[in-house]
């Protein structure tokens, strides 16, 4: 039972790092003191105006914030119905929302006196963003990446190496994001004294889900202000793709207490939620503990973790950030599934109509917009977090469309 009863949905996590029954700190004792130290350092930084000023400086002049809010009129006209706005996180430096969090965490690492950075990556976007900030701050960096992902995301692997990072292919398990995270945790446990683990999504042991969310809230805060300026009101629907869930929580969190704003998270349904090949942890999983937090997981009857599947490497994870598990249970956010094929169709439609090639992750959210926008009124507004650009995906999309490039 949790007797933490705040007035705002934005006040979580509680003192134990929990969102309702989710979250927490399920790590080996070796890491526990480090996680407590990180929490302390984060509290101190959060209260320090100098930290916020430094963060703002890098977000503005290095990342290129604020990112624009784009009224996607052609997509809206094509679908008929609601007005559609894109929060254009794909225009950030390195092409995705991941950099927001990386800047925040590396400033924290620097304050803590850490001299080496490690990270996990799935699609490679977080790996690239991490390698980027490590180049900027002159810190050595090791990125763990599943061997399967190394193969399907070659351009990003090359980018990371150009930026000076060491990329370690992980071949244990299914050799994807989950296994990369295991190996990053193993590295951390062996290098506790100098190493900072720069987690890429709003998951992992407390305080990561909270601090990653806080660093990503810039998305929702900006979008809210921009939409107020453009339309004089809040959106009717805010929508984002969820893998680990950092781009979605960054968009949703500033709207959690606004009952009029319907929030929709889009999970990867892979080859269909009736199959075993999907990454829909909320719709098809059940609560358990992995990678330091209690959350919904894809698992078998014996509590062994199942492999996820998605055409999008960034959604290919059998868990989800704990705050999403809680928002799912209290029904504040609706979580739906979109298949590989539906995402591929949306990927092409958005490219042709808006001249924006979206990341396959966001194509999942666009595919759901294709379903709901026509059912909505002309005065209603959908706000999408266009969290990344699709250049990294053109090779795998081409392959699925049967084209050689």
């Amino acid at each position: 039972m949790n007797d933490f009863t705040p007035n705002s949905l934005r006040a979580w996590p509680d003192a134990r790092g929990r969102f309702g029954e989710f979250g927490g700190r399920y790590v080996a004792e070796t890491l526990m003191p480090l996680i407590l130290e990180l929490e302390q350092a984060y509290r101190t930084a959060k209260a320090d105006p100098a930290f916020q000023a430094e963060l703002d400086f890098y977000l503005k002049d290095y990342v290129g914030r604020p990112s624009p809010l784009w009224h996607a009129k052609r997509l809206g006209a094509h679908l008929g119905g609601a007005k559609i706005y894109f929060k254009r996180e794909e225009l950030n430096h390195t092409g995705a929302h991941k950099i927001n969090n990386c800047i925040g965490q590396i400033l924290l690492a620097k304050r803590m006196g850490k001299t080496r950075i490690i990270a996990e990556t799935g699609a490679g976007q977080h790996g690239v963003a991490t390698a980027t900030v490590c180049a900027l701050f002159n810190l050595p960096c090791t990125i763990y990446m599943g061997a399967v992902d190394v193969e399907r995301q070659k351009p990003n692997v090359f980018r990371m190496k150009l930026l000076g990072a060491e990329v370690v292919p992980v071949s244990s398990g299914a050799a994807t994001l989950k296994d990369a995270m295991n190996d990053a945790l193993r590295d951390w446990v062996a290098n506790v004294h100098d190493t900072f683990y720069l987690i890429g999504t709003a998951a992992g042991p407390h305080p990561y889900p909270e601090l990653v969310r806080d660093f990503q809230c810039v998305i929702g805060n900006e979008a809210r202000a921009q939409l107020m300026q453009a339309e004089g009101r809040l959106p009717d629907v805010a929508i984002a793709a969820v893998g680990g869930g950092s781009n979605a929580i960054g968009l949703f969190h500033p709207f959690l207490d606004e009952a009029s704003v319907k929030l929709i998270g889009v999970e990867a349904a892979g080859k269909g939620m009736h199959t075993h090949e999907h990454a829909a942890s909320l719709n098809k999983g059940r609560p358990g503990v992995l990678h330091g937090n209690r959350t919904y997981l894809l698992q078998d009857d014996d509590g062994q973790i199942l492999e996820a599947h998605s055409i999008s490497a960034g959604l290919d994870y059998p868990g989800i950030g704990p705050e999403h598990s809680w928002l799912h249970d209290i029904k504040r956010v609706e979580y739906v599934g979109i298949t590989d094929d539906e995402a591929l169709e949306a990927f092409q439609l958005c490219s042709r109509l808006e001249g924006i090639i979206p990341a396959l992750e966001c194509a999942h959210a666009i595919a759901h917009i294709m379903k709901i926008a026509p059912q909505m009124g002309k005065d209603e507004i959908i706000l999408l977090n266009l969290s990344g650009r699709g250049d990294k995906d053109i090779f795998s999309v081409a392959k699925h469309l049967g084209t050689e490039i």
Binding site: E29, G173, L290
Partner: protein
């Protein structure tokens, strides 16, 4: 007195340390695991640690990871592991069995039912790697209600101020993770142990077992010169892969002799 406390009390009388070898359940099959449990108990193991396979063993090195994968391929389930322990217990009433694993399979089984069934199977203690003291209330009440010792991990990073909290509610023995790292990699030196063990002794009356990186009879002897027990895992799995179960028993016998010959540090 619990079976684990009984073993340590008897060894204290004898003036020697304990050997705790490790068996990854179902690696490579159930029969081998059962033969190893029996063979170890008859050849110098004072307590046996049984590894419960998990898909994502984040504190383990490549050797135990691979052993767990083989165990899962051979059909290991938590129910099956409890059955294995139970079969061993029918013939051996004196050798304590400690289950080591990760939280999720236990949650999936149901904590209360798991503690009931584990006690019924004749298990004596639990080591749950990803359950730090901050989250231990999830398991502690049910484990205690069924007489299972909850064995805590203490690491080199556990500072003195934290030790007291980490050890609260723990029983059986303290598992000292002697290095910062994963299983089967580096080895703590005698100097490391001479520095670290008294620090833990000052915080608890429980016996202290040292694991992670203990490989040879000489290393085991060094460990029990400072602590109360040596836990040996990865090297035995390597022997099992390279040779066979008989070779593992041979190594256990050699480790036990190393421990018997050890002298207590002044």
């Amino acid at each position: 007195m619990s079976r684990i406390a009984g073993v340590f009390a008897a060894l204290r009388q004898e003036g020697r340390g304990a050997l705790i070898p490790f068996v990854e359940a179902y690696d490579p099959d159930r029969e081998t695991s059962l033969a190893l449990l029996r063979g170890m108990a008859e050849n110098g193991a004072d307590i046996i640690e049984i590894g419960m396979p998990f898909t994502d063993p984040m504190a383990d090195g490549p050797i135990i990871q691979a052993a767990g994968r083989r165990g899962l391929l051979a059909g290991a389930t938590l129910k099956g592991v409890l059955g294995l322990a139970h079969e061993f217990r029918r013939e051996n009433r004196h050798t304590p069995l400690v289950l080591m694993g990760y939280l999720n399979p236990i949650l999936s089984y149901g904590v209360k039912r798991f503690c009931e069934d584990a006690a019924h199977a004749g298990l004596d203690g639990l080591i749950i790697v990803d359950l730090p003291s901050e989250e231990a209330d999830l398991v502690l009440p049910d484990a205690q209600a069924h007489g299972l010792d909850v064995i805590r991990l203490v690491a080199p990073t556990t500072c003195d101020a934290r030790l007291k909290q980490v050890l609260e509610g723990s029983s059986g023995f303290v598992y000292y993770v002697s290095i910062t790292g994963i299983t089967g990699t580096r080895t703590a030196s005698a100097a490391d142990l001479a520095r670290d063990i008294p620090r833990i002794r000052a915080a608890t009356d429980l016996p202290i077992a040292v694991g992670f990186g203990v490989r040879t009879p000489a290393q085991a002897a060094t460990v029990v010169a400072h602590a109360d027990a040596a836990i040996v895992a990865s090297v035995l799995i390597e022997t099992l892969c390279r040779e066979n179960a008989e070779a593992v028993i041979r190594d256990v016998r050699a480790l036990a002799e190393g421990i018997k010959a050890a002298r207590k540090a002044a």
